[in-house]
Each structure stands twice: as C-alpha cells, then as structure tokens.
C-alpha cells in the first residue's frame, strides 16, 4: 500500500483539542489516584504510557499516517484502532495473570488462617469470628 492512500486523520483542530483534553484529564486522574494510594504505581505506569501515546497521536497525526504507510494499512484510523485493541488485549492479559496469582495467594492465606484457628482450638482457645459473608460470585 502506498502512504497516499492513508486518509486524513484528526485534521480537525476540535478533534485534536478534544483528544488532548481527554489525555490530560486521564493523566490528572491517574496522578490523583496514585497520590491517594488508590491505584498502585505498577498499574499507573501502564496508563501513563497510554496517555503519552494518545498525546503523541493527537499532536502529531502525521506520525500515525507514516506508521500506517510503513505497515501497509490503507486507512490511518485502522492503525489507531489496531493499536488500541492490541493495548487492551495486553492489559486484559496482565489482569488475568494478576488475578490467577491472587487466587492462589488467597487459597494459601485462607488455609494458613484456618490452620492457625485449628491449632488454637486444639489448645482450648476458640476464636469466634464473624460468619462468612455471602460471596457475590459462587462459581469462582
């Protein structure tokens, strides 16, 4: 594909301004959440990367067109969509990895706690804890 076929992208100043504003808002949100310890730094890096990528595309749309030409994608917005989808898949994958790890950790911790309780019981110390709350998802 030649790069002339790459259609116009984000030439509207309004669209550009919206994208920049969106990125800055996202940046502010991430910074605030990290400061309040609600988002872990390791995950925030991911979103900072996304914000930077968004800003680059918003400020230098030509770049996206050039990349399209290089990889042979006819329409520039397809390149952008592809990049976003790839990013989302990567994030989802990371999250499933993190979820798998925390399920294993959770099983281990639950066992250790139950074992401690049993040990105490066998020494005549009974820890009466609050009843288990009904879990919202049974088939986990």
């Amino acid at each position: 594909m030649n790069s002339d076929a790459a259609g116009p992208i984000l030439v509207l100043p309004v669209a550009q301004a919206l994208l920049v504003a969106g990125c800055l808002l996202a940046l502010a949100t991430v910074v605030v959440l990290v400061r309040r310890n609600r988002l872990e730094l390791r995950y925030s890096l991911l979103w900072l990367l996304a914000v930077v990528a968004g800003l680059v595309v918003a400020l230098w749309p030509e770049l996206a067109r050039t990349v399209s030409g290089l990889v042979g994608i006819r329409y520039t917005f397809n390149t952008v969509f592809l990049a976003v989808m790839g990013f989302q898949l990567a994030v989802t994958f990371m999250l499933t990895l993190a979820a798998s790890r925390s399920r294993r950790d959770r099983a281990r911790l639950a066992y250790e706690l139950a074992r401690l309780r049993l040990e105490l019981e066998q020494r005549g110390i009974r820890l009466d804890s609050s009843p288990a709350p009904p879990p919202d998802e049974r088939r986990d």
Binding site: R103, A110, Y111, A114, L118, A132, P135, R139, D140
Partner: protein, 233 residues
C-alpha cells in the same frame, strides 16, 4: 501409616453429622478432617459438635481450594495417605478402605472410586452426565492411553508424593478430571476401584443444567493442557 480422610463441605449442615458418624463407624483407623469452605449454614459448628477436626476456611475457595487446604494440612501433619470423601453422603464410608487399598499397597499413586466399573452397583448419575463423563474419559484415553471410567469422581485416594505435589499446586476449578491428566502426564500410576455411590441426599451439585456442556468444554481444554505439564516432585 498415618491415614487421613479429607471431607470438603460447603453448606452440608443436613448431612455432615451423618457422614461423620458413618466414617467413624465404617472407616476405623482413619483420622477425619472436615474442610469447611466458608459455609453459611453452620456446617463447621455441626462438624465440631460431631467431634471432628475442622479446618474452617475464612473465605469460600471452591472445591479445588478446599481440597487443596486438606492436602496442605495432610502434608503439614505428616500423613502418608489421604482419601477425599464428599461431605454430602454420596460416598459411603465403607468404601474408604477399598479406594485407598491400591495406594496403601503401593500399587498406584492415585486411586479413583468409580461408579461405572463392573461391581459398582450404586447410583450411576444421570444419562446426560454420563455422556459428559464418557466424553472426558475418551479424551483421557486418547491423550494418555489409559482407560478411566469415572474421571469426575471425587472419591479418591492420594499417596504422599501426590499430596506433596498438590499441596504446592492444585487446580482450583473443576479439579477432578484435570488431576487424572496431571498424574498421568507425570508418569504416575492411576487406578480405579469400583464403588457403589449413593444419590445425592442433601445440598446441591456444583454443576447443573446447561453448565454441564460448558464444564465438558472447559475440562476438555484443561485435560489437553495437562498433557504438557508435569507435577512438581
């Protein structure tokens, strides 16, 4: 040889006392550990009243996590053989010894109580479920070259090697067929023993209705993947 019966129980208040009484009467020589998987119906208290040792999980882990907690306890306390026996009365205690026999004799590492072997004249599940069980059995045969008639049975005995390995890593979801696959993929010996199971008397199965088809697909994939894995020694 120290022997443990692991009884995973989730909301089995109706049946747990009877199950424990039966174990005490018909499986002498076996210690019993109830793993209460964060029941909401007082199962743990009933198990303690019945005089059983009870591992009381603070959060619901599902059957895989509950059984694994039992394995961890078995390893921590130095048990050499463990039998998993459901708390809902499906698994008659008089077969505990029979299921464990090949493991106790050193003839295999994993022994499975099968409803479908000749001589097992008990409840044989519903026709639809049997189709699923047969499909998974066929897959095991194709993948590992061994016939397993009842890979979903939760009535099984484990030797020390498997206990230690499963204490480290055990499938958390629908573990039974996958465990057969993992054991066979690691070159371990799996045997089946005919047992007469009872129809479910209290509680509910964790798998029902349309979920059954999904179960077969998920477990099928898990079996194929287990072909590529080996258990930690």
């Amino acid at each position: 040889m120290r022997r443990l019966v692991i009884v995973p129980a989730y909301n089995e208040a109706e049946r747990i006392a009877a199950t424990l009484a039966e174990l005490r009467a018909e499986a002498p020589g076996w210690d019993v550990l109830v793993v209460n998987d964060a029941s909401e119906d007082g199962t743990a208290a009933l198990a303690r009243e019945a005089g059983a040792r009870c591992l009381d999980l603070p959060v619901h882990l599902g059957i895989g996590g509950a059984v694994q907690a039992g394995f961890r306890h078995a390893v921590d306390c130095g048990y050499e053989v463990a039998v998993q026996c459901d708390g809902d009365g499906q698994h008659p205690a008089r077969f505990v010894e029979a299921v464990a026999r090949p493991v106790l004799d050193g003839a295999c590492d994993l022994a499975i109580g099968s409803r479908f072997l000749p001589g097992a004249d008990g409840d044989r599940s519903t026709p639809l479920r049997r189709v699923g069980i047969d499909l998974l059995g066929l897959l095991i045969r194709v993948l590992f070259g061994q016939r397993v008639t009842d890979c979903t049975s939760g009535f099984r005995a484990f030797d020390r090697r498997l206990l230690r390995s499963f204490a480290l890593h055990y499938p958390l979801d629908y573990p039974e067929p996958e465990v057969c696959g993992l054991a066979l993929a690691s070159g371990l010996r799996v045997r089946e023993v005919p047992v007469a199971m009872r129809a479910r008397q209290g509680g509910r199965s964790s798998i029902s209705g349309l979920d059954g088809a999904l179960y077969v697909v998920k477990v099928g994939v898990a079996l194929v993947l287990s072909r590529l894995r080996t258990l930690p020694a």
